[in-house]
């Protein structure tokens, strides 16, 4: 055997053994280690929880929750709706004779008055902040004409409305048509007619002249008419003057959500002095009566109707005054308190929504102001509710829940178990029990990853005032399955049960109360080396 033969055999054997050795799979090496990590840090004062804009800070650092919502705003445009019709005027020669007229000759020049019906109102004046006048001119004149549409009642910056139209020649059978539109923004309309005594009346002029540049005479008879169609679109008044009618305006049953209340799912809340104001700010220059028909506290399961001497009774609103077009709006406030109504019961129903309905009666006594009603869109009529709740209350198992979006894109294969440690330094005179639920695949929050555990309230003195913070540590133990779902879910339901200290005494939340929360995890991680 040659040396090369020996070497060849040795190398073959060598590589065979290499394959055998490295081809063997060994068992994985594994071990567990416990790692502690901070996860979330937050320091929350009441502003973080309720929003700074909803809080009123009083001189003694106490707080009130102030909720303001607009519940109604009058749509004045609807008062002055023009009929959705096209006004058509036909202009033709006054004489039955057939005339041959030369270029530059005006053969039609007519002034007219048109009276519009405006939803029961009798207007003397209005100014538009929006709207379009659409026109269409149909001519059978067998020569080119220059036509004009003039509205003497409509001016903008002192210049009356005038639209000049160049109309081509018709063959007498097929009309020549010119159409267009004009933006009416800024136009003021005098609706008193030519004699200044009428209402809802517009004056207009139409004229038609043979184009001076035309080279020959045009033969015209009464059959060669000119039809002008005019319509108004999207009229939006800025100001109006006149008599606005005596319509009864229904404000149908509607509701407004109460913030934070939608998160309360159970428990009871004993609230101290509460005030609810319904404020009507009126810039509409009419006599008016308002009737608040109902004001209800709506919970998922119960309704409490507010009872008060003003509910269901017409209330006269004072007519505002104006100087020029500057209006001094009148403000009318109906106040509801614990002593004058059942507001305490109304709010302790923990309403998620407040529902209401009302009626507005315009000019209940007719045109007693001799067409002196006025409107300036800068001074509307609107109604607000203003709920002011001093943060002085007693909470008994008051349970709030909310969903949190979370995203933790981690491979949790190696996490065996873990603990979520909540270190809390609490300056609030409230205890809190925390539960967390993971959104399941079926869309339900069924699995609690934390049993009820309590963050203790701050230490109080005999006057129920916070004198020092309390420190609590809450440890939530979670298993591998729960961690996996926690990491994979995109929503977490947090349920917090609040109890005020020293129940049933009421506690007062101050602007310096806060809670320092550190959420940390200790994870049992299994290292694996394959």
């Amino acid at each position: 055997m040659s040396i090369f033969e020996v070497m060849r055999k040795l190398l073959c054997l060598y590589f065979s053994i290499l394959l055998l050795f490295f081809g063997c799979r060994k068992e994985s090496t594994t071990w567990d280690a416990d790692y502690a990590l901070p996860l979330i840090h937050t320091k929350l004062d009441i502003g973080n929880l309720l929003g700074d804009t909803n809080l009123l800070v009083h001189a003694d650092s106490s707080l009130s929750l102030s909720i303001q919502r607009e519940i109604y705003r009058m749509d004045v445009d609807s008062f002055f709706e023009t009929p959705d019709t096209t006004i058509s005027q036909i202009h033709k020669l006054l004489t039955p004779a057939t005339l041959s007229i030369g270029p530059g000759f005006t053969f039609i020049s007519e002034a007219e008055e048109s009276t519009y019906s405006i939803a029961g109102a009798e207007l003397k004046y209005f100014m538009l902040k929006g709207g379009v006048l659409n026109y269409e001119l149909i001519s059978y004149v067998t020569g080119p004409t220059i036509d004009s549409i003039i509205l003497p009642c409509a001016t903008k910056a002192g210049v009356e409305f005038s639209e000049v139209l160049y109309v081509p020649t018709s063959d007498g059978i097929t009309p020549a048509i010119v159409a267009g539109s004009v933006d009416l923004n800024g136009y003021e309309f005098d609706l008193t007619g030519s004699n200044g005594l009428k209402y809802n009346t517009m004056t207009s002029k139409a004229s038609s002249t043979i184009d001076p540049a035309f080279s020959s005479n045009v033969t015209i008879s009464q059959a060669d008419s000119i039809r002008i169609n005019v319509s108004f679109q999207d009229i939006s008044p800025a100001r109006a003057l006149g008599y606005f009618g005596n319509d009864l305006i229904e404000i149908p049953l509607d509701s407004v959500a109460i913030p934070y209340m939608e998160n309360i799912v159970s428990g009871s809340l004993d609230i101290d002095q509460v005030q609810l104001d319904v404020t009507i700010k009126n810039g509409l220059g009419v006599d008016m009566q308002v009737n608040i028909e109902q004001l209800n506290s709506l919970n998922t399961t119960s309704i409490v109707a507010l009872t008060h001497s003003s509910i269901g009774i017409p209330i006269n609103l004072t007519r505002p005054m104006k100087t020029g077009w500057t209006v001094a709006s009148e403000i009318h406030t109906e106040s509801f308190s614990n002593s004058t109504s059942n507001l305490d019961e109304f709010l302790e129903n923990l309403p998620k929504e407040m529902s209401y309905s009302a009626q507005l009666q315009l000019n209940p006594f007719g045109d007693v102001n001799s067409h002196g009603d006025f409107f300036n869109y800068e001074y509307p009529l609107h109604a607000n509710i203003n709920l002011e709740v001093p943060l002085c209350f007693a909470a008994n198992k008051l349970t709030l829940q909310d969903t949190l979006p979370i995203q933790i894109d981690q491979d949790t294969t190696n996490i065996q178990s873990g603990s979520i440690i909540i270190n809390a330094v609490n300056n609030f005179p409230l205890s809190a029990e925390i539960q967390a639920f993971v959104l399941e695949e079926n869309g339900l929050f069924t699995d609690s990853i934390a049993t009820s555990t309590t963050i203790e309230p701050a230490v109080l003195n005999l006057s129920n005032e916070v004198i020092s913070s309390s420190t609590s540590q809450v440890i939530l133990t979670v298993n591998k399955d729960q961690i996996t779902r926690l990491m994979q879910t995109d929503q977490l339901l947090i349920k917090v049960v609040f109890n005020t200290a020293n129940l049933p005494s009421m506690i007062k939340i101050m602007d310096w109360h806060d809670i320092d929360l550190n959420l940390n995890v200790i994870l049992n991680y299994q290292h694996t080396i394959n």
């Binding site: 054997l13 053994i17 996860l39 929880l49 550190n518």
Partner: protein, 428 residues
């Protein structure tokens, strides 16, 4: 371990002689036209890390808390050493009379595969890896100074060997397969007592040259290596009287001192290697939430964000590293029929390998005409004090040996590390 022993045994049986504390002669005699040496060496060693622990770490199994605690108790606070490596190679000597126009020189070609993973680490680094930081809340964990070196390379070389002086030197081309080095001169991890933050203060330098991966085919660097071996026979005068009137003085060889230097060289890692210099204090306090009921939909624990904030952008530039050169100086006495008991002593050091200098000494025993053995005590290296043993077989055509630098470790779970060297020399 059985698998690796089987492998090394079979492998070295096929190929030849080995690199070991017991440096053997590679000489050819006049009857040989070709001599092939092959060797294989595999080891892991670390003071404090028992075989029971290392077996599970390397060969698989669950490392339970009891084993972790036992192991950690054996560790020093700082300066614990751990290494594991594997090397194998073949060298073929070819007899010639014409090399360099000098009949005294032969030439040899060699091919080697060398992998060395070494580290120096603190007890706290071991703790955070194997136990975590949950039981060190409110404390500092000194993860440094800690050093990790991993290098894998192959070399192909040409050697000149003197026929009679047992002297040879060679130069090899080195193909760099994989390199990683981490030098954490300072690395302190502090976990706040209320777990509100963890901070890492570190001064760390890191190099990595694994752009093409770290499989055997990866060509991440190139370099050179020199090797040199010189054996000096120790001779004494032997006074013999050939007649009553005349005394003749002859010399007698009683042993050999061998100086061996291997892998003196460097590798240029030039396939877009990365270098990191981290000198910073990083603190992680979790995700800051300022409104519990209005949290943006963000990734609360984003590994990329965390790693980006700790790790600076790597600097990509080529760099050189010195090979883990081995220096061996060994004396081996010559065994004869009349002197079947001899001695062996030596010293060894390896550069750039987190290793302490090693000294050793022991006895050589001639058991049979073809069989001898050595037993030595070893101080230093990656362990503390270990016992080594070697068995040699020698015939006209074959020389073979098996040696171990850690006998207790080889046979006992309570030992610390395993080491086995096997070699075979075939003469044709």
């Amino acid at each position: 371990m059985i698998r690796i022993c089987l492998f090394i045994g079979l492998f070295s049986f096929c190929i030849g002689n080995a690199q070991t504390l017991f440096v053997a002669s590679n000489s050819m005699d006049s009857t040989n036209s070709v001599v092939i040496n092959g060797y294989a060496n595999a080891f892991y060693q670390g003071q404090g890390l028992s075989n029971e622990f290392m077996n599970k770490l390397i060969f698989g199994g669950y490392i339970d808390d009891q084993l972790k605690d036992q192991t950690e108790q054996k560790l020093l606070n700082f300066g614990n050493r751990l290494a594991f490596g594997f090397s194998t190679g073949i060298k073929c000597y070819v007899a010639t009379d014409r090399l360099l126009n000098n009949p005294n020189w032969n030439f040899a070609v060699n091919a080697d595969y060398i992998e060395l993973n070494s580290s120096t680490y603190s007890k706290d680094l071991f703790h955070i890896i194997f136990s975590g930081n949950a039981d060190r809340i409110g404390q500092n964990m000194e993860l440094g100074p800690s050093y990790i070196n991993r290098i894998v390379f192959q070399k192909l070389g040409l050697n000149l060997a003197h026929k009679s002086n047992n002297c040879e030197f060679g130069v090899s081309f080195v193909k760099g397969q994989s390199h990683f080095a981490l030098a954490a001169n300072q690395m302190t991890l502090h976990t706040e007592s209320d777990l509100s933050a963890i901070s890492l203060e570190t001064n760390t330098y890191m190099q990595s040259a694994n752009k093409q991966g770290n499989k055997i085919g990866a060509f991440n660097g190139a370099g050179f290596a020199l090797n040199f071996t010189y054996s000096l026979p120790i001779k004494v005068k032997n006074h013999q009287s050939s007649s009553l009137s005349k005394e003749t003085v002859a010399t007698k060889e009683i042993g050999t001192i061998t100086l061996q230097m291997d892998n003196i060289g460097a590798v240029a890692w030039n396939n877009s290697p990365s270098t990191y210099q981290i000198d910073t204090t990083y603190s992680y306090a979790g995700y800051e939430v300022d409104n519990l009921f209005n949290i943006d939909n963000v990734n609360w624990v984003d590994e990329n964000t965390i790693s980006d904030s700790i790790l600076p952008q790597p600097r990509v530039s080529n760099y050189w590293t010195v090979l883990p050169a081995v220096f061996n100086l060994v004396y081996v006495s010559k065994l004869t029929t009349s002197h079947p008991l001899g001695s062996v002593a030596g010293a060894r050091y390896q550069l750039n390998a987190d290793m302490k200098p090693m000294v050793y000494g022991g006895v050589n025993i001639r058991l049979h005409r073809k069989l001898s053995t050595s037993v030595i005590g070893i101080v230093g290296g990656y362990g503390t004090i270990t016992t080594g043993i070697r068995i040699n077989y020698s015939s006209n055509l074959i020389r073979a040996f098996a040696s171990c630098n850690n006998v207790i470790g080889l046979i006992s779970k309570k030992g610390y590390g395993k080491n086995i060297n096997l070699g075979l020399q075939c003469r044709f």
